[in-house]
């Protein structure tokens, strides 16, 4: 199981700024190990961010997203104390969800 994500959701004006740092190898499938064998691709494919029962961000990724992916976006309609949850699914079917409370700006 991958390490927890670091999620910061902070009010900025009438928006919520969300920054997420995920822990994932994001192996491209192009790289060879010391024995010359291709290291199989292993990367996050789907990311969704939910707030109050609705999806506020959704993405599909390929292996070209950098290792330990970072994403920053903003949405409207969030209030201090409400929770934002982030879920990723990778190409091996592994899945991880973490959440954080929205903090004041």
């Amino acid at each position: 199981m991958a390490d927890p994500m670091r999620i910061r959701a902070q009010i900025a004006g009438d928006k919520v700024e969300v920054r997420v740092l995920m822990s994932h190898e994001m192996e491209t499938g192009q790289r060879r190990d010391n024995n010359g064998n291709i290291v199989p691709a292993w990367f996050i494919q789907n990311v969704t961010v939910n707030h109050g029962g609705r999806t506020v961000m959704s993405a599909q990724w390929g292996p070209a997203v950098a290792k330990n992916p970072f994403v920053h976006f903003r949405f409207s309609g969030g209030k201090v104390g409400e929770r934002v949850s982030v879920t990723w699914t990778d190409n091996r079917g592994d899945k991880r969800t973490d959440e954080a409370a929205i903090i004041a700006g």
Binding site: G53, M57, W61, G62, A64, K67, F70, H72
Partner: protein, 159 residues
């Protein structure tokens, strides 16, 4: 949180509601099925034009409403970690994709811009070598792009 039925419909939460709403034409398909199948065809493409086609567009036009914002560098010292930020001022922006022309596969990431989300995304990608990077925006079913060359000092696809 007290979510009314109308908000649920608008936000597309819950599979049954999503399916019904999509069937009734209330939602754009990519919104209704945002969490479904990973688009393998699009991520397998090897050129900008093929990616646009795989995402459902006939062609894309360059548009100043699509911009790379700070911290997108002109020169990336480390191709394994290249920050890319994209904004769109085109009305009804539905998605923002990031493409790296000279990577083994062109499409790096595709973000769906959902209701309430700003047409802004910042992330980090890998670049194997110096390349044109495209920000591809879908708005009202049409495709628009901005292009920027990012020079890479050390490639990011090796060890």
């Amino acid at each position: 949180m007290n979510t009314s039925r109308r908000e649920v419909l608008k936000a597309g939460g819950g599979m049954t509601v999503m399916a019904l709403a999509a069937g009734a034409g209330l939602l754009r398909p990519e919104q209704a099925f945002a969490q479904v199948a990973w688009n393998k065809t699009a991520f397998d493409t090897k050129s900008f034009a093929d990616t646009v086609k795989a995402l459902g567009g006939a062609s894309a036009s360059e548009n100043q409403g699509v911009r790379f914002a700070s911290p997108t560098p002109d020169i990336a010292e480390n191709g394994a970690l290249v920050p890319v930020t994209v904004t769109s001022s085109i009305p009804n922006t539905e998605s923002i994709a990031i493409l790296v022309d000279k990577n083994p596969n062109t499409l790096a990431a595709n973000f769906t811009i959902l209701p309430g989300m700003d047409p802004f995304i910042s992330t980090r990608v890998k670049m194997g070598q110096t390349s044109d990077v495209y920000a591809l925006v879908k708005a009202d079913g049409r495709y628009y792009y901005a292009k920027k060359e990012i020079k890479v000092t050390i490639g990011g696809c090796g060890g």
